[in-house]
């Protein structure tokens, strides 16, 4: 090497120092001038805000912890950094993040986790007991498979996943001989319709089409006439990005369509959000389509208690115990019931027995997806028998009716 030439090492270290300092200062300045954000649309979560400084928080280390998440969450160009990280992860061949698999054909899957056997057993017992207590009611149980079940073959190679089918089979078999509780098993129909979009690719929910296929299965079990109403469906959004991509960082640029099904024969109805004390004439919340959580277009998300009064000729009233899968399913039921009472036990702590009396319910539908159903902690509590006194009253009214 030519000795007169400047030493590459010296050149390198000086340039390193200079560039490091420049980027450093630039980033620090950007951070000073970056405004705090309350909510990250991209990650679909509330970001940490400025921590409170107090002596207590200092001594306990609370202040330090909060500062660290604050600085991370409010770091300049956060979304850009996340994009870089996700890209690097993809290049490294990562197929899982935060419990979410990146499947083949660009589909995200929420893992089905091995449920706690004891909890499942006691949930089964309490549903059986509930069912027996309310022999006079027509009861239906719809546990929806999730994408991980129907599109198992699209999971990343060798991805370990607990067998959702086995758990569903075991659970549903307890009701196969039940006179009162009828099982709506949509899995066979879903497998047949696999080629259509039954689930969103970036979200853990089923699509409205998935819900409609499920409804057709349900109709035959619930003795409703599915041909009574015909539907037209078209997308109301083309840029839906679901929570799975938000949670995992995978498929961040994937946007998909969100479809609604509109009946050709309208049934008039009103929706009453009891806790919010709001009445509306439509189950759809168009403004949700402008937010990240577009699935909230159905009922504006989950609510503790919703009543739908319809102009249907039917005299029956239906109680739905559900999770968010029901939100896009329930609109299909509107033509068939005088009243639909929707309870989400995750937000509603009322006793179901009491509700059944209050609303004079004739039919009950349990509608959950398998993932929430097998990990749910709230349904069981709400199914406990009503407190003694009310039970006595309930018996009295039942006798009167008969």
């Amino acid at each position: 090497m030519n000795p007169k030439k400047r030493s590459p090492l010296l050149f390198f270290t000086r340039i390193m120092a200079a560039i490091f300092l420049i980027i450093f200062v630039a980033l620090v300045i950007c951070n000073i001038f970056t405004k705090d954000r309350v909510f990250s649309e991209k990650e679909n979560r509330v970001l940490a805000s400025k921590p409170n400084l107090s002596l207590d928080h200092l001594a306990s280390g609370q202040f330090m912890k909060e500062s660290e998440s604050y600085v991370n969450d409010q770091f300049a160009f956060r979304d850009f950094w996340i994009m870089i990280k996700s890209t690097a992860d993809t290049i490294l061949g990562k197929k899982e993040a935060n419990g979410i698999y990146l499947g083949k054909n660009g589909r995200l899957f929420e893992q089905f986790e091995e449920p706690d056997a004891e909890r499942v057993a006691s949930l089964k017992q309490s549903i059986l007991a509930f069912s027996k207590r309310h022999e006079k009611l027509k009861q239906y149980l719809l546990i929806a498979p999730t994408a991980v079940n129907i599109y198992q073959n699209e999971l990343p190679a060798f991805a370990p996943a607990a067998d959702q089918n086995a758990y569903m089979d075991a659970f549903l078999s307890a009701f196969s001989s039940s006179e009162t509780m009828k099982v709506i098993d949509v899995r066979e129909a879903f497998r047949l319709e696999k080629e259509t979009n039954l689930y969103y690719r970036t979200d853990h929910h089923w699509t409205t089409t998935g819900a409609y296929v499920a409804f057709q299965q349900a109709a035959s079990v619930m003795e409703l006439d599915p041909s009574a109403v015909s539907y037209e469906h078209y997308p109301v959004s083309a840029d839906f990005q679901g929570t799975l991509s938000a949670k995992s960082g995978f498929l961040e640029n994937e946007k998909e369509a969100l479809e609604l099904y509109f009946p050709n024969q309208e049934t008039a109805y009103t929706v009453n959000y009891v806790e919010e004390q709001k009445k509306e004439a439509d189950v759809y919340h168009g403004e949700s389509l402008k937010t990240r959580d577009q699935y909230a277009v159905f009922f504006g998300g989950n609510h503790s208690l919703i009543e739908i009064q319809t102009a249907s000729k039917s005299k029956a009233s239906l109680l739905v115990l559900k999770d968010s899968y029901a939100n896009c399913f329930i609109p299909f039921l509107i033509p068939y019931y005088r009243e639909i009472v929707i309870v989400d036990p995750r937000y509603n702590y009322d006793n179901i027995d009491t509700l059944i009396d209050e609303y004079d319910i004739q039919e009950v539908l349990f509608l959950y997806n398998a993932n929430t159903f097998f990990s749910d902690k709230y349904l069981q509590t709400s199914l406990e028998p009503a407190p003694q006194e009310e039970e006595a009253n309930a018996e009295a009214t039942e006798q009167k009716e008969s």
Binding site: F12, M16, M64, N72, R78, I82, A88, N98, P156, F158
Partner: protein, 464 residues
């Protein structure tokens, strides 16, 4: 506070750099000291008192021992007192629970004790103060009369919480006089970025693999899963620990300090003896200097030598954590080293290099099983699982999945363990310095991206 965090990188570091370079020379040590105390207090708001006490106490005792130079007996008494107090503090905070627990188990007693949170870095700074005190006593270094300089030696944030263990003798001149040049600063950033990348890009990602495996029930996963897990851990601990050391060396360099190399490609060693000359060098040389040689080293009878080795390695094991698995891990290395010295050394020459390397790596990997499972029976169970004592069979989908989705990472990790990759980088640097700069900047930005959106960023040395 840890180096691998956004808060450190973009709040603490800019602040300390700015103030450090703005103040006049005579203030620089004070600035570093104050920032080091803030750095420590951030993670240990209460135990900072302990560290301050340790600094003040050893400062005073150093002067005391030095004064009694002409009276060997008095000097020895002072030394004994100092060493005992230091060891007592370390013992009290680190080992009391372990000791009482062991006594309780042996005598079926139930002496109550309160599990104390271990003050971060106590093992590192206690060893640093001991090296100072002993060297003063032996007359190897001059006593430090400047409280600021001495406290800075104990608390200096780059090496405070995860080493390297800097010997006072090595750093004494630098406490008084050191030069910061742009090139030196640049070299520091290069070291720092290299260390950060090792920690954030390699160690953290590899760590997730082993965490997954550890979440499963021992004895139930496949042989393949067990091996993928422990290999990932083997890589993780190297990149994590040597990454921290590189960051420390780099940060020191930015402020004009030169710390010794702490890791020297340990996984390419031929033999366990060589491994320990390449792994956590500052700890090995500390034990050598202050325990092994004072005990007589190898210039003693064979039985005494065996005793010396086993004692030193039991202590080395115990230094890494107050629990039996670390003792076993240390003794394991003691036995291996003796075996190598007295039996295998002759065979090594006759064996091909690759065979010796594989033998060495295998033993190291087995060692990590004991290191990473703090419950001894878990370690034995995991080891069994690796060699077929499992209901999970030879390979299952979990193992294949872990292997497939982390293969690239593991391969990159393995390549990065050997000097080859870094030599390529140095060649690039000579030919196209700009490209080398670009490599570093890209690594750095990647690290920032991973830190901003971090899901897993453990600090492994809370037991040390």
């Amino acid at each position: 506070m840890v180096f691998s965090s956004i808060l450190f990188l973009f709040i603490f570091l800019p602040a300390v750099l700015a103030v450090y370079f703005l103040v006049p020379k005579s203030w620089k040590n004070v600035v570093l000291l104050i920032f080091s105390l803030v750095f420590y207090a951030w993670g240990e708001p209460v135990y900072i008192i302990l560290m301050l006490f340790s600094a003040a106490f050893n400062y005073v005792m150093g002067i005391d021992i030095d004064r009694k130079r002409l009276d060997p007996k008095a000097a020895r008494n002072s030394l004994l007192l100092t060493v005992l107090v230091n060891l007592f503090l370390l013992g009290f905070f680190k080992y009391s629970g372990f000791l009482i627990d062991t006594v309780n188990q042996i005598f079926h007693s139930s002496i109550p004790y309160k599990e104390l949170a271990l003050p971060i870095g106590i093992s590192f700074y206690t060893f640093q103060t001991l090296s100072y005190i002993l060297d003063v006593y032996w007359g190897k270094v001059k006593v430090q009369k400047n409280l600021i300089s001495f406290s800075l030696y104990i608390t200096m944030f780059p090496q405070l919480i995860a080493g390297p263990i800097v010997r006072y003798a090595d750093i004494e001149p630098q406490l008084k006089e050191r030069r910061v040049t742009l090139a030196g600063f640049g070299l520091g950033t290069e070291f720092f970025i290299k260390g950060l990348a090792k920690k954030v890009l390699l160690a953290n990602n590899l760590g997730m693999v082993y965490t997954t495996v550890q979440g499963m029930e021992i004895g139930s996963f496949s042989v393949l899963t067990a091996w993928v897990g422990i290999i990932a851990y083997t890589l993780q601990i190297y990149f994590d620990f040597s990454g921290y050391s590189d960051m420390a060396i780099g940060l020191g360099r930015m402020f004009g300090f030169q710390f010794m190399k702490n890791f020297d490609y340990p996984y390419i060693s031929r033999g366990i003896t060589e491994f320990w000359r390449r792994w956590h060098i500052s700890l090995g040389s500390w034990f050598r200097e202050y325990v092994y040689i004072p005990l007589g080293g190898n210039r003693v009878s064979v039985p005494r030598h065996i005793f010396n080795i086993m004692l030193v390695w039991m202590l080395t094991g115990l230094w890494h954590g107050a629990s039996w698995n670390f003792v076993v891990w240390g003794l394991y290395y003691g036995v291996l080293l003796l075996f190598e010295k007295y039996v295998l050394a002759k065979c090594f020459d006759r064996l091909p290099g690759w065979a010796v390397r594989i033998y060495t790596l295998l033993l190291i990997v087995i060692g990590w099983v004991f290191f990473s499972n703090t419950v001894l029976s878990d370690a034995v169970g995991y080891l069994g699982n690796m060699f077929g004592v499992t209901t999970g069979g030879l390979a299952d989908s979990t193992g294949l999945y872990l292997l497939k989705t982390n293969l690239l990472l593991i391969v990159i990790g393995m390549i990065s363990c050997a000097p080859w990759l870094y030599n390529q980088f140095k060649r690039l640097l000579r030919r196209a310095p700009w490209a080398a700069v670009a490599v570093n900047i890209v690594l750095w930005l990647l690290c920032v991206a991973y830190l901003v959106y971090e899901t897993y960023n453990p600090f492994l040395y809370f037991r040390f």
